[in-house]
C-alpha cells in the first residue's frame, strides 16, 4: 500500500515522494521507537505500564496503568503477557526509551510508547488522569478472540458432545494422532487432505477445527471458508492445561 499511495500522490502532482519500503518492521528492528495513538492508550486492549518512581502515580496517572517503576521492570517482565500490546510511559524520555529497548531485547514484539510521555497525555485534550492510592500492581490482560477463532470453552463443550450442531476436525497428521491420541467426538482429517475429503464434512453443521498449535487449523479454516462452511478454529497449544479436553489415548500394543 506504500507503493499504491505513493503512486496516487504522484498523480495528484506531488513532486517529492519517497517510499519507506522496509516499513515498520525495519524501524523496530533498529530499536527506533514507535508510538501508540492516544485513543489506543485510552481504549485499546493493552497492558499500560507507568514506569515513574513510586509516588508519582499517586499524584496522577493514566487510567488502567499499572505502576512498574523502571528499576523493577526487569523483575516484572515475566508478569507481562507476551501477546499483549504493551504501552509504556514515564516522565523521563531516556528512561522510557531504555525500557522500550529492554523489552524488545527480551523478545516482546508489541511495545509502543505514549506520545509525549506522561506530559503528552496530560496535555491531550481528552487525557483524563486518575489520582489517589494504588491498590493493586497486578498486570491483567485477556486476549480477545481473533477472526474465525473459537473460544476454548466452546471448543471443549463440542468435544464433550454437548454441542450436537458442531462437527470437530483434528487437522493433524495420522502419525501425530497415533502418538498422542485424539479428542473425544472428533474426526481426523489432516490439513492436506481436507480439499479432497470435503464430502466427509457435513455442510449443515458448524465446524470447529484444531491442530497442535492452531497454525494448521488457521489454514484449514480458510480452506473451509472458501468451500462455504460455517467454521471456526482453535488457536491454542493443545498441551496447554487451559485446553483440558478429554483425549482418547492411542492403544498400546
Amino acid at each position: 500500500m506504500t507503493t499504491e499511495n505513493a503512486g496516487l500522490a504522484k498523480k495528484l502532482g506531488y513532486t517529492n515522494v519517497r517510499a519507506f519500503l522496509d516499513g515498520i518492521p525495519a524501524w523496530i528492528k533498529e530499536g527506533y521507537p514507535v508510538y501508540a495513538s492516544y485513543e489506543f492508550v485510552a481504549k485499546g486492549n493493552i497492558v499500560l505500564l507507568d514506569l515513574r518512581k513510586d509516588g508519582a502515580a499517586i499524584e496522577g496517572r493514566i487510567p488502567r496503568a499499572v505502576v512498574v517503576p523502571y528499576s523493577t521492570l526487569e523483575k516484572r517482565a515475566n508478569d507481562i503477557p507476551r501477546n499483549a500490546p504493551v504501552v509504556l510511559y514515564s516522565d523521563n524520555e531516556e528512561e522510557v526509551l531504555n525500557a522500550y529497548q529492554d523489552l524488545l531485547d527480551d523478545g516482546f514484539k508489541n511495545v509502543s510508547l505514549v506520545p509525549g510521555n506522561y506530559k503528552g497525555w496530560v496535555d491531550w485534550q481528552y487525557g483524563v488522569i486518575v489520582k489517589g492510592p494504588i491498590f493493586s500492581n497486578e498486570i491483567r490482560w485477556v486476549r480477545q478472540l481473533g477472526k474465525g477463532e473459537v473460544s476454548v470453552d466452546e471448543f471443549r463443550k463440542a468435544t464433550k458432545g454437548e454441542l450436537p450442531d458442531v462437527f470437530v476436525i483434528d487437522a493433524r497428521t495420522d502419525e501425530e494422532i497415533a502418538e498422542f491420541g485424539i479428542f473425544t467426538n472428533t474426526v481426523n482429517i489432516p490439513l492436506d487432505e481436507i480439499p479432497k475429503r470435503l464430502n466427509e464434512i457435513p455442510k449443515g453443521k458448524r465446524i470447529f477445527v484444531h491442530c497442535s498449535t492452531g497454525a494448521r487449523a488457521d489454514l484449514a479454516y480458510h480452506e473451509l471458508v472458501k468451500n462455504g462452511y460455517d467454521v471456526k478454529f482453535l488457536l491454542l497449544d493443545i498441551t496447554d492445561p487451559e485446553c483440558d479436553c478429554e483425549i482418547i489415548k492411542p492403544k498400546l500394543n
Partner: protein, 192 residues
C-alpha cells in the same frame, strides 16, 4: 540502543474508518477489486496464484495464499514437495507468485517466487537510517502511515499521520500538504 532524542509529536489525525487492508497483501493488484472474478478465472487457467501467503505447514506440506482483496479475497491451499522451489519465499505475510499443477486430486505448488514491490515512476526509496535522521532532526516532512487504523493506532513512527489507501483515493490532495513540492514519505508494514 542508539542515541535517540525524539520529541516530535505532530498532532495526529485519527481515522475512524475501519478498513480491512493489509500491506504486503496489496502487492500484485494494481486496481483494487477490479473484476476479481475475471482475474481469478484467468489466473486459474494459467495455474498461477499471485497474492499474499497466509501460511505454510511443514507437517502437512501445504502452503496457503490469499488472492484478491476484501470480500473478493479467496485463499487457496496447495501441497508442496521436495521438488517445489522457492519455499523460502512462502512466509506468512509475504507477497508471492505461486505456479502450480494439478496432480490427481491435489494441487501442487511447483515454483514459488517473491512478488517484489515496483516503485511508481519518479518515486525513490528511503532506507531506515535516513528516515530516522529526518525524524530526529524534525525535518519538515509529511510522514504517512498507509496502513489501516487498527495497525496504525497501536504502533507508528513518531509524527506519522494515518492515510490508508482508500482514504487517499477518496480525499486526494485534501489530506496531503498544500505545497506540492514538499517531501512526503509513505510507509506500511513492509514488503520483502
Amino acid at each position: 540502543m542508539k542515541k535517540i532524542k525524539l520529541t516530535l509529536f505532530i498532532p495526529i489525525a485519527i481515522m475512524l474508518a475501519f478498513l480491512s487492508f493489509g500491506c504486503a497483501k496489496d502487492m500484485g493488484k494494481p486496481s483494487a477489486a477490479a473484476k476479481p472474478a475475471a482475474v481469478e478465472t484467468q489466473k486459474q487457467a494459467d495455474n498461477v496464484y499471485t497474492g499474499s501467503v497466509t501460511g505454510k505447514s511443514n507437517k502437512a506440506k501445504t502452503v496457503s495464499i490469499q488472492v484478491g482483496q476484501g470480500d473478493a479475497a479467496v485463499t487457496h491451499m496447495l501441497k508442496f514437495d521436495d521438488k517445489t522451489t522457492g519455499l523460502e519465499f512462502a512466509e506468512q505475510g509475504e507477497a508471492a507468485i505461486i505456479t502450480w499443477e494439478q496432480r490427481g486430486e491435489d494441487k501442487f505448488a511447483t515454483v514459488i517466487k517473491p512478488k517484489l514491490a515496483k516503485l511508481p515512476e519518479g518515486v525513490t526509496e528511503i532506507k531506515v537510517d535516513e528516515l530516522f535522521k529526518l525524524v530526529e532532526d524534525k525535518s519538515p516532512i509529511t510522514l504517512v502511515d498507509a496502513r489501516p487504523p487498527f495497525r496504525y493506532n497501536p504502533a507508528h513512527i513518531p509524527g506519522a499521520i494515518n492515510i490508508p489507501v482508500p482514504v487517499l483515493k477518496e480525499k486526494g490532495a485534501a489530506v496531503l500538504p498544500a505545497d506540492k513540492n514538499s517531501l512526503i514519505v509513505f510507509y506500511c508494514q513492509g514488503v520483502t
